[in-house]
Amino acid sequence: MSLRLELREITKQFPGVLANDRVSIQVERGKVLGLLGENGAGKSTLMNILSGIYKPDSGTIIVDGEQRVFRDPAEAIEAGIGMVHQHFMLVPVFDVVESVALGAETATGPLGTFDRAAARAKIVELSKRYGLSVDPDAKIESLPVGVRQRVEILKALYRKSDVLVLDEPSAVLTPQETEELFGIIRGLASAGTSVIFITHKLHEVLEVADTITVLRRGKVVGSVKPKEADPEQLAEMMVGREVQLTVDRGQAKVGSVTLSLKGVTVLNQAGEVAVANVDLQIRAGEIVAIAGVQGNGQTELVEAVTGLRPVDSGEMTLNGESLVGASPRKISDAGVAHIPEDRSRDGMVKGMTVAENLMLNSYHRKPFSSGVTLNRSAIEAAAEKIVKDFDVRTPSIHTDIASLSGGNQQKVIVGREFSRTVSLVVAAQPTRGLDVGSIEYIHKRLVEQRDAGAAVLIVSTELDEVLALGDRIAVMFEGQIVGVLDAKDATRERVGLLMGGAAV
């Protein structure tokens, strides 16, 4: 039982946010510390301090009993801390050897020639020893995300890191890949590596961690052992109040077919087939949730349904009328609500006010427009009402939407889309990056739409969300729908296998 690493009373202030408030954590040699917290709890800030990217305002870092100050990432690496970032830090056009060696290259000769052969041999040896199989000569951009993660771990091991920090490592993995990752983590820990595992997923820390430390709003709430903890208790620590882990919803009252896709094929930006020959029907009063690892055509499918991307071939109808070739406005006017995947790119206009953002789908209609000019008073009245109805926490409707929190921004979008009667809701990653309170709220609103008779299409890479909301669950893999399960048949394992492309 020796402490490998200790953070003591770390404080970091950003303009307007106290990201870390006297945070202390301890990591033992060869143990796994689960760092649990919601988005915005300060986990990433803490890890960026640990890896030398940020400097703390106060507090100390103690490595092997010795106080250290990391002025830059190189010093943290030198102290044995290896970081696997949530967004992989790999150069897409490099191969595995180049990516792993970057920054820690052995160079020979007067010109500093990169000793590729030595680096390659070391990588092959490491990947054998830790069971991280990867082709050292493959280009990063040709590798699936699961393998890229292994490359990131190799990068840390290559630098002889014995404290491995994994930031939300399961976000891009299938459940099976996550299991594999847990196996790797256990192997590393038993070989003496300390692991800090950052996540907001309760069952993951319960499964893999030796100790769980919970962060909330920049402060440590407490530490528990997984054996003595249960999900409800952890969720409460994380959020600060009792949390409902399941979504309350009755039986779906299913009506006629609202959205129908027949043989729909959609191309991506590069002109390659992203959605291949998809058949899918969604009826009024049901929620169909599409599960799948990111990048399997979900984005393109949603863009096609909402008119943002042309359908290459196939039929797509809404209440019997064809949507192929229809403009986004026509589709919106036909009663389709769209909660886009990339909130800040497609969901709102930063720099414009809350009121203006609430009018983006109706400003051209009476009473908000009188042909040429906008009717300010009608817009303000409507905006005030939506802000109240949808519980948007904003100083005023004239506040720049960019200054709101992610949860409130999403409420503005939901308020805009749901403040009229819609027959189809298309929600892509509706709760990505939100706190638990906002997630509960958005989920409730989506179920409300279903119960009001709308057909609801949800796309999510979070398996928990898919399982909690879907009356039927469709799984996309490599552009195809590889399976549709009823909620009662959809277990984590079955959906997970489909997400990895296995036939069921």
Binding site: L102, E141, G271, E272, A274, G295
Partner: protein, 427 residues
């Protein structure tokens, strides 16, 4: 991204639109090649009586000539046959056919045919044409190399033109003052490095948009050099009487017949370009410095998080790039054309930029592009001296037209460094 690999897999098992598109594309290409083949045969008929009269210097300058005479029609027929074969192969083999190879074989024939047709029998000297090409390409290639180094590190560099001008001016002045040839290029490199540093401070510290910063430097350089030329150099011509750096005959090799004149009696800048291109190709793709530089240009965060000081690296790359561009610029005033003149760079910095894009940010390819552009320039000069054929401006437009074709993605796609032009925030 892994997406493309995935979607390719999809395409194979549903016979996607991609393959159809590729097939359609190759049919269209076959048709276009066939048309060009027919056009070549038509040109052969139209020029059946024209005889090309080309010549090469055999030994020293002004010595005897080796005469080459042949009917222009033969070259046209040859071009037509190669183009026809490319078209047929494209049609038969579909998307699998590597048409670029065929075009690479056909191009020299077509260029020769066009050139001799334009001459229409007027005797022309090829040695001048080729040495002109090489001498033009040297500084342009060095300028392109400067651009490659800075853009590969992640900083857009459109200020090559401005550095050419300042390099030319400082080269002329320093060479005049010190009276030795080497002072010119050194002064050009020093001033270029300072301008590179200025560009780095604007773009990296103050995060000025790098296109704007480059434009400002180009305009500023034009203004300053014009001012100094008019107010100082024209009055005190002793400051604008540099020691010229003339073509050098390499011992032994330079005495070989024909090739001695063609390849081994060139401006030192051309040999230097060759050496620098080889050197920096090695540096960029085989060394630690190169690996880190390329990582900074593609994904600076990936380099920063493993402890590479991206800012320092970019600063150094900008200074190095500036020095190379300034050095190349000094050629303009020192090549024996009477020192510095107003606007002496005449857009060559932009040609260097075009060569860098045309060469897909790879040094050897950029050198190749510089040679093609140099040939267009030399051919245009020769034709206008001889007073035949097209208006020379048409040929001068060649580099720009070719660059537009490449940038528009008509000949494959070129991809520059992903993060060039984006400021990087460290910690």
């Amino acid at each position: 991204m892994s997406k493309s690999a995935k979607t390719n897999a999809v395409a194979t098992h549903v016979m996607g639109a991609e393959e159809l598109k590729a097939l359609r594309g190759s049919r269209i290409r076959a048709f276009i090649f066939a048309i060009f083949a027919l056009a070549a045969f038509a040109a052969a008929t139209a020029n059946s009586a024209t005889i090309a009269n080309l010549s090469l210097w055999v030994d020293t300058i002004g010595g005897t000539d080796a005469l080459i005479s042949f009917p222009v029609a033969i070259v046209w027929i040859g071009s037509g046959l190669v183009l026809g074969a490319v078209a047929a192969a494209q049609y038969r083999l579909g998307g699998k056919y590597r048409w670029r190879v065929g075009i690479a074989i056909a191009s020299p024939l077509i260029v020769t045919a066009l050139f001799t047709t334009l001459l229409a029998g007027t005797p022309a000297n090829l040695t001048v044409l080729f040495t002109g090409t090489f001498n033009y390409a040297g500084p342009v290639a060095i300028g392109a190399l400067a651009g490659i180094i800075s853009e590969r590190s992640g900083v857009l560099n459109i200020a090559i033109e401005g550095k050419f001008l300042l390099g030319a001016l400082s080269g002329a002045v320093a060479s005049s003052i010190f009276g030795i040839a080497i002072a010119g290029p050194i002064a050009g490199a020093v001033i270029g490095a300072l301008v590179g540093l200025l560009l780095a401070i604007l773009g990296l510290r103050y995060k000025v948009d790098q296109i704007v910063a480059g434009t400002v430097i180009n305009l500023g350089a034009a203004g300053i050099t014009t001012f100094i030329y008019l107010r100082v150099l024209q009055i005190h011509s002793e400051f604008n009487s540099p020691v010229s750096i003339l073509p050098v005959k390499i011992p032994v090799l330079g005495d070989l017949p024909i090739v001695g004149n063609l390849l081994f009696t060139l401006s030192p800048y051309s040999y230097l370009a060759l050496i620098l291109v080889a050197f920096f190709t090695y540096m960029l793709f085989r060394t630690r410095w190169g690996l880190r530089l390329r990582a900074s240009g593609e994904m600076p965060a990936a380099a920063g998080t493993v402890g590479v000081d991206v800012m320092k690296l970019r600063y150094r790359a900008m200074i190095l790039a500036g020095a190379l561009a300034g050095l190349a610029g000094s050629y303009l005033a020192l090549s024996g054309t009477g020192g510095f003149g107003m606007g002496i760079s005449a857009g060559r910095g932009f040609i260097a930029l075009a060569a860098l894009i045309f060469g897909a940010w790879k040094p050897w390819n950029a050198l190749g592009a510089a040679l093609i552009f140099g040939f267009a320039e030399a051919a245009s000069t020769l034709l206008s001296i001889l007073g035949v054929g097209l208006p020379p401006q048409v040929l001068l437009a060649v580099p720009y037209v070719m660059t537009i074709i490449v940038v528009a993605g008509l000949i494959g796609r070129v991809r520059g460094p992903a993060s060039a032009g984006r400021p990087y925030e460290q910690g």
